[in-house]
Structures are given as C-alpha cells and as structure tokens.
C-alpha cells in the first residue's frame, strides 16, 4: 500500500495523490451520489470517466500537453494520471509581470486553438484547470468536454475562460484579447466566426 492523500474535493470528483509504478500520480475518483438511483449513478460515472479519458487522449494527439494516463477504471470511475508539478495558472497569474502574463495568454490561446482544430471542446477552461510546468501549459479536467465541430460550442468554450478571467483576475480581464491573439495563430479554420460568436454570447448576458 502506498500512502494516499486527498488534495481536492469538488462536486463531482475527488483527487488523490499517490504513487503508481514508482511515479507520482493522481487518481481522479468520481463520487457515488446517494441521491440518485444506482442505475443512473453507475451509468453517469462510467460514461463520464470514459469520455474524459478519451478527450485527454485526443488532446494529446493535437499536440496539447495533458497528464499521461496510467490507468482508467471505468466501472469504479477512476482515472489514474501523471501528477503534474508546477502551479495552477489561477494561483500565479496575478503575480506575474505584464510581459509574462501576455506570453502566457498567447500560449493558452494557442493550446485552445489546437484543441479546437481537433473539434475538442474542453467544457471548463478556467485558470484552475491549467497547470504550468517547465514552461508548458498542461490542461486537466476534461470532464465537461465533448467532441463538437460547431462554432457555437467553440465560442462557449472560450467565453467560459473570458468570464473566469473577469471574475478571478478582474484587474487583468482585458488581457483575454491576447488569448484570442494566440488562438488565431493555431485555429485557422474559422477564427472570425468563433470571435463573432463570443460577442454574441456576451450579448445574451448569461453569467457563470
């Protein structure tokens, strides 16, 4: 038995840090919910675990850094993946120099552009779901993601980040435009349409 400690607990999953084959890993364990019947619980946990692992593999193919997957237990709802050292962007963004922030924003945008080139919608691009390690941005938490080629889905995906920056890094909210700058470097399908869609979503006036 290796020691394990829970480093995070959200609404849906628990993150446990442990060892696997001599490597430091995290287990993302989806939690059983006793408010829903067994049939629904089992089905949701299995399909979401499978979907998340699939999207992580797809993201890697697009050249985006994601943790290496060691094991997926669909029945138990556990993904065992590489532990990424380093810092969540959420925790460091506000402390960076302007120059570093802008570079980081462009890099974030480039990575999102690569995901979208593969029609990979992350579903929850916030600064707590990106970890910087050795200068590279690693994306985690594809649990709300999907494969979708539509402009709407891509617009919503970017809009989530825009709002996350507005609420978590409000002093630098206007720096989202550098994310778009990076995005346009790698997302060469229809960047104008996606950008227009973001504006449209802003007009609709929803909040998250």
């Amino acid at each position: 038995m290796t020691e394990e400690n829970s480093i995070y607990q959200g609404a849906e999953a628990k993150i446990i840090k442990t060892m696997c084959l001599g490597y430091p890993v995290v287990e993302k364990r989806r939690l059983k919910k006793s408010y829903r019947i067994q049939e629904i619980d089992t089905r949701l946990i299995a399909s979401r675990t499978k979907e998340e692992a699939k999207l992580m593999a797809a993201a890697r193919k697009q050249g985006v850094c994601v943790p290496i997957i060691f094991d997926v237990d669909i029945q138990q709802g556990i993904i065992t993946m590489e532990y990424i050292e380093g810092n969540r962007i959420k925790d460091i963004y506000n402390t960076l120099s302007k120059q570093k922030r802008l570079k980081l924003c462009r890099d974030i945008g480039e990575s999102i552009g690569r995901l979208h080139m593969g029609d990979i919608i992350h579903g929850d691009i916030t600064t707590s779901n990106m970890i910087v390690y050795e200068g590279r941005i690693h994306f985690i938490d594809f649990g709300l993601g999907e494969i979708n080629h539509e402009v709407e889905a891509k617009g919503v995906d970017l809009h989530v980040l825009m709002e996350a920056m507005e609420s978590t890094h409000s002093r630098f909210a206007n720096e989202f435009k550098y994310v778009l700058e990076g995005y346009k470097r790698t997302y060469i399908k229809n960047p104008k349409e996606v950008e227009g869609k973001i504006q449209e979503i802003v007009q609709r006036g929803r909040y998250r």
Binding site: E12, Y35, R36, I40, R43
Partner: protein
C-alpha cells in the same frame, strides 16, 4: 409596515398581504387562483382574462382574511416580470389603480428574485442560499454573488414543470400533471433508461420528454415511465444545484417554484445537502408556488432599502432578467 403584493406572471393570479418588521416576514393572507385551460397549454390572453375576472374579488378576500382595512396597507407591490405580457399587464394595471386610489407608493419587483427572498424572509436560518427554482416555465439555479442575484444554471429548452405537464398531456392526464406523475411513480422501482442532459450547470429536458412519450407509445408500464422520468430529471436538477453550491461555496440550498412540492425532489436535494454538510430549506407549499405574498415581501424589503418608483417606472418587462435587479439590500 403592511404590503399588498400582486402576482400575475403566468397561469396564477395571487394576492398576498405581509407584515414586515426588519427582516422577518409574517404572511397575513395569501390568496391564489389558478387558470386551468380546458385543454392544451396556457393561452396568455385567456389567462389574462381569467386574472381580470377574479382580481378585484381576490383583493377583497385577501384584505378580509388579513383583517385589514384597505387604508392600512402601506405599500403596493406587483410582479413586473419576467412572464407573459398580457398577464403582467393585468397585474400592473391593478397595482397602479390601487396605488392611486389608496394614495400609497408602488413598487414593481422581479418574480424570480421574489422566489428566493421569500425563503430568506420566512425561514430565519436561511440567510444565503442557492435557490433551485423549478416551476412550469422556469428552471433556474440562482444565488447571490458580487452584489447581484445571478443565474448559475438554467434550462436550455423547457422548464421541468412544462416537461411533466407535456408528458401528462400526451397521455390525457388533467393539468397540472406533476402530482399525478408523482403518485404513479411511487408504484414502481423499475428504471427505464432515459437521456440525461446536463451541460456544466445547465440542463435540458426535451430529449427526456420525447423518450418518455416514446416509451408510452410502446406500451411500457406507466408507473415505470413516471418513476424513470422523475428519477432522471430530478437527479439532473440536483446535480446542477450541487455544482452551483460548490462553485459559489455556499452552505445552504433552498427550493422554490411549484415542482418543489414534489417529495422525491425534496428528498434528493436534501440528501445532497446532507452529504455536503449543507442546510436544506423549503418554504410551505403556498409560498413555493407563484404567490402574492412573495411579491409583497420583496416589495417591502426593496422599499425599506430606499427603492422608490413612480408610475412611469412601473412598465412591465417580459424578459426581466434576474441579474438586472440592483440588490442594494444585501452586501
């Protein structure tokens, strides 16, 4: 201070009279009359005609039951939106007439915010909840954040109440079908798979509705379908509510809206709250459904915080968004 509230956003017309002292609410009377279409859904004009027919009588009854002469009312409040235009106009017109006749101030309030504030008003320990608001047309998860009530999640197509009613209607059940579906669901524990549609903190019901109707066409037992429909829809509602609680880091959850009367939904949300170590609240049924008391109560707290309106400010707003309200009474 005594406030008379007029609710008229959809199929119900309600008159409530509340007495406010600081931040505690006592409901003196709360009369509701509901328009029930012969068949089909609500026709806004017909609903408004219904409201016009009963509103004067209902005001009289509410005053009588509260043992209050009209002159003792200090403030008139009404539902300014969101809702069906003709219904909103009826409520607003009655409110303006009363305000002019009694020479008392008038305030228009947001219906969705009223569903949340009434919970805080009558349940003293419910101070900062995430509200799961489930009615016919509306399904929203609302909480206070950064100075406003914000919608964190909502239905992307139809409200949960409409989903239940449409299912019932396709089977010729009387309107509203929710209570009947709840009874039938109790007879089964056999789950038939139905689409579960949650996207982040949003939710959708139309796929579920179509699949449930399909099961009925294929002669699956009605009890099984009702059971599966409730289990699926309510699990999804509970999930988005929990997400919003985690996101906003709130430790209280409140139910509101007509579907909050459903015992299975209450049980699910209460189990979820327990597992999170959070508190669960639900007001009595007459304060969950669309009602005048909640409108009166919100009018009162707005007035107390200094909000004043002239007749010109009382134009209805069918698309009155929850986050358009300046919440100056909370910090």
């Amino acid at each position: 201070m005594i406030t008379l509230g007029i609710e008229g956003t959809a199929h119900s017309i309600g008159i409530g009279i509340v007495k406010g002292r600081n931040d505690s609410c006592s409901v003196l009377s709360n009369m509701i009359r509901t328009y029930r279409p012969e068949k089909g859904g609500i026709h806004p004009r017909e609903a408004a005609n219904h409201h016009v027919t009963y509103i004067a009588e209902l005001i009289k009854e509410a005053l009588q039951q509260a043992h209050i002469p009209a002159q003792d009312v200090d403030l008139i409040s009404f539902s300014q939106g969101p809702g069906l235009g003709p219904c909103l106009r009826t409520a607003a017109t009655a409110a303006r007439a009363l305000s002019l006749k009694l020479h008392k101030p008038i305030i228009g309030v947001n219906h969705c915010v009223a569903h949340l504030e009434i919970g805080r008003g009558v349940l003293p320990e419910c101070t900062d909840p995430v509200l799961l608001y489930t009615s016919g047309a509306n399904t929203q998860v609302i909480a206070f954040a950064e100075g406003k009530y914000r919608v964190f999640g909502e239905t992307l197509d139809i409200g949960i109440g409409n989903c239940l009613d449409k299912f019932g209607r396709s089977l010729q059940m009387p309107f509203p079908s929710g209570p009947r579906i709840e009874q039938l669901a109790k007879k089964s524990t056999n789950y038939l798979e139905l689409p579960y549609s949650v996207k982040g903190m949003d939710i959708a019901f139309s796929g579920l509705l179509t699949a449930a109707i399909h099961y009925h066409k294929n002669n699956k037992p009605l009890g099984d379908i009702c059971y599966s429909l409730q289990e699926t829809a309510f699990a999804a509602l509970t999930e988005i509510t929990e997400r919003a609680m985690a996101h906003t880091e709130k430790q209280q959850v409140l139910l509101g809206g007509g579907v909050a009367a459903n015992q299975r939904l209450r049980d699910m949300v209460s189990i979820m709250a327990n597992e999170r170590g959070a508190r669960f609240f639900v007001p009595e049924k007459s304060l969950c459904v669309d009602n005048g008391a909640m409108i009166a109560w919100l009018g009162y707290i707005m007035y107390q915080s200094g909000v004043r309106m002239e007749i010109d400010d009382t134009i209805i707003n069918q698309r009155f968004r929850t986050d358009q309200v300046e919440v100056i009474w909370r910090d």
